[in-house]
Amino acid sequence: MNWRGNALKFCNVAGLPLLEPFVRLAAGEDVKEQLKSISKFILLPVATIAVFLFLWNAAAKTVVTDSMKLPSPGETWAAGKELFAMHTAQRAADREQKKEKVTEAVMFLAKANKMTALAESADGERKEKLLANALVLKKKAVQAANYKPTSAPTFVDQIITSLKTVFIGFVIATMIAVPIGVLCGMSPWCNAALTPFIQVFKPVSPLAWLPLAFLVIVWAYSGAKPGETLFEKAFLISAVTVSLCSLWPTLVNTTLGVASVDKDYMNVARVLKLSWSQQLFKIILPASLPLMFAGLRISLGVGWMVLIAADMLAQNPGLGKFVWDEFQNGSSQTYARIAFSVIIIGVIGLLLDRIMIFLRNLVSFGNPQAA
């Protein structure tokens, strides 16, 4: 029965307890018990979703103002399908364009060669002009050959940009929060010194951080030319705003995790005469990992939540900008598209959360938690 144990363990660590009854069914455990679990964890949510859709549909018929209308589930779904269709169409068009540009490049080159040939038989100003034009044409040929599509980002591009932004912001936040958290956890003095900052900055909204982030990023980039930097300014502003909002849960939880390491472990460390770095890496950090990851999970959730607002304001071409632009469009499709993006944002948030649960359970030394 070893596969059963492994499968159950996997369900636990991966944060997928709803698969558990199926595993137990396959292993031939009490059927009635399992059906109860299945109906509780799967059938019931399906039923509530159905009720929700029904209510939503009803609401869509009544919530209508002069200039706006709540989209029905069907309209939302259609809008979503259209968004993805647009994406594939755009990609195909870009590929087409790229091919055309390459042909154009060869045309330019042929023209340039022709001009060089003409220049040999010409003289004076005409010759100079011909040679100059040939040079420019060669430059144009290289430019055309290296054409990069400049179509507006599609919905899928915007999802990818958003994920990248949150990832970068989250990495920045972690790199700041974990060391400071460890420091605060190990030294009560340090903790006391930093507590006022943590308490004051923790509740600040992303909208308030953004102008400050904007200022700092623009200052940091003041010498650089646009297009030559690794990241777009708007992207960084968005990412920094995300990190400023999402580092606090990690910081607080890390502090707590480090501060509450079991005293017995610390005593053992003293008996073994472990050095300070050994204590840190062999005992303190491993013991505080579960709480640290609990903090990271909250941080990622917060980061994803504030990202939409940050994108809106920083003009970072992610999902926030999509929502804002659609709101500005005010077309008959607007609200359906926004409703669809709300669902997509929610689903991505759920997936990110599940990934964090999985990571946390990997480091929780045999005490996985389902949520």
Binding site: K99, E100, V102, A105, A110, R126, T150, D325, G330
Partner: protein, 513 residues
């Protein structure tokens, strides 16, 4: 996937590849297959950058039909080809129909004809757009005519911004809520007709504003930006009827000193919703947001800026002076593409009907451009303006992109904005008449426009009649085409400022300086 397949072909030529090459030599360059093959030959380059050598190699392997490529090499040889410094550009715009020249230049390939690779990106509001142009995130943008002027003289963010291309004339309207409209009709029975006489002045609005004042309530109206055409237009319209729209000062940058009507900034796309919510009672905004109010039945456009000032400048294409100094040829290339787009937008058939506007409306309705529904955009674009369901008027000049020299950066247009900035106190000190002319020369750059126009003429893409005469000094004719019949002579800015009842007054001696 196909690239990958052919990529393999390059290194391990199967028998098929030779056959392919034989086929290629039979086709001219324009057929599909060689394109495919050239692209395939180039994918052999391992680096992401394709160099000239790679191209040479690829071109050498393909037999180019000489007559197709450089048949007119003789005549073309003497034409100047612009050496563009920066081919990859990003321009900003706000979701309004007057961004059309930018969209058309991109969609119709006028930019790529100049070897420019342009991305145009919607911005959330005018301030963000201006800031991003100043700090270099955007190379240039669709701007309010007042923005380069305001920025250069330091009202708001200070930065030297120039313009060499005026995007359009007219295109705005003033809309009031249904309730205010019915009260205006009470005050002026003539407005009750299904097709009231135009232009409608603010005279019938004055008693309503007065009664609001009496009751101590604020009369709020929306405009889009402190230095926007809309702000000066709605102020002009109100002041012409004796309603005080408020003054600016060093301390009061909301422009609400002595105001009968409180004007506040609302982003254009939110105008109808804000009107519906009752936060504002009327607004001045560009299209499609006046027509939107009619279509949704939440407001009534009372006048258009064509009636306030016939053929008034509205939006320009602005870049920073620094950008222009670094990329002079790129700027000329951009202006060339915009001139062609403007011409395309104003093309008419023999009967004088605009032929391309419906297509333009369709392109603009794309969600990445203006994004409103096509039937909302096409009203004004195709030359009709719906004031009410009963009152639909042909307005062929509601949006002018090119004719009447609308795309030329006239000094007199710049000076009109400066006079209005001084009139309402955005320019806090008195300035001599000569200052106005100097500033106009700092900001408006007809030389760049001329250069682009000359190139288009020599390429045969435009005719000399499309542009002002070579000896034109940049000052449009003196005009009285205003709603109050006042005379505007750009050569006498001081006299013009003093000709208004409401607003700052200058000392007469300045006119001579």
């Amino acid at each position: 996937m196909w690239t990958f397949y052919l990529f393999q072909n390059l290194f391990v030529p199967p028998p098929g590849a030779r056959k392919l090459r034989r086929l290629i030599s039979k086709f001219s360059l324009y057929s599909k297959l060689p394109v495919f093959a050239i692209a395939a030959l180039l994918t052999g380059c391992s680096s992401s950058e394709i160099t000239l050598d790679d191209l040479e190699k690829a071109a050498a392997k393909i037999e180019v039909d000489e007559s197709a490529t450089a048949s007119d090499g003789e005549s073309e040889a003497v034409l100047e080809i612009l050496d563009v410094e920066k081919p990859n550009l990003k321009f900003g715009f706000i979701k309004l129909t007057d961004c059309a020249p930018l969209v058309i230049a991109k969609e119709k390939g006028f930019f790529s004809d100049e070897g420019l690779n342009v991305e145009i990106e919607a911005q959330s509001n005018w301030k963000v757009l201006l800031d991003r142009v100043i700090d270099g995130q955007l190379d240039g943008a669709h701007m309010l005519a007042g923005q380069p002027i305001g920025a250069t003289i330091g009202f708001g963010t200070q930065a030297h911004i120039i313009t060499a291309y005026s995007l359009d004339y007219n295109g705005n309207g003033i809309t009031v809520s249904n309730e205010i409209w019915s009260q205006m009709q009470e005050n002026d029975p003539e407005l009750k007709s299904p097709t009231p006489k135009h232009p409608i002045s603010a005279d019938s609005l004055k008693p309503i504003v007065d009664s609001y004042k009496q009751e101590g309530k604020d009369f709020n109206m929306g405009m889009v930006f402190p230095v926007s055409t809309h702000n000066y237009e709605i102020r002009y319209w109100l002041a012409a009827a004796g309603i005080h729209p408020g003054m600016y000062s060093e301390e009061n940058i909301q422009g609400t000193i002595d105001a009968d009507v409180l004007l506040s900034v609302t982003p254009p796309p939110q105008m109808p919703a804000t009107l519906e919510a009752g936060t504002i009672l009327g607004y001045c905004v560009g299209e499609p947001w006046n027509q939107q109010a009619v279509v949704k039945g939440i407001g009534v456009p009372v006048t258009t800026n064509y009636d306030i000032w016939k053929n008034n400048p509205e939006k320009v294409f602005g870049v920073t002076k620094q950008w222009n100094d670094t990329n002079p040829n790129t700027h000329i290339a951009v202006v060339k593409a915009l001139i062609r787009a403007g011409k395309w937008l104003d093309e008419t058939d023999a009967d004088g009907n605009l032929v391309n506007r419906q297509e333009a409306a369709k392109l603009l309705s794309n969600k990445d451009y203006v994004g409103a529904d096509e039937d909302v955009i096409d009203n004004s674009m195709t030359g009709t303006f719906v004031f009410q369901e009963s009152d639909v008027r042909p307005m062929p000049d509601f949006n002018v992109f090119f004719k009447h020299n609308a795309s030329y950066p006239h000094y007199s247009d710049c000076i009109w904005f400066l006079t209005q900035m001084r009139r309402w106190g955005q320019i806090t000190e008195e300035k001599p008449a000569s200052w106005y002319a100097e500033k106009a020369k700092d900001i408006y750059q007809p030389a760049i426009y001329r250069k682009a126009a000359d190139m288009l003429i020599s390429e045969g893409k435009a005719s000399p009649n499309d542009f002002p005469a070579p000896d034109y000094d940049g000052y449009r004719e003196v005009t009285t085409d205003f709603i109050d019949g006042n005379k505007y002579d750009a050569k006498d800015p001081i006299g013009y400022i003093n000709s208004f009842d409401i607003g700052n007054k200058e000392s007469e001696t300045l006119a001579k300086q």
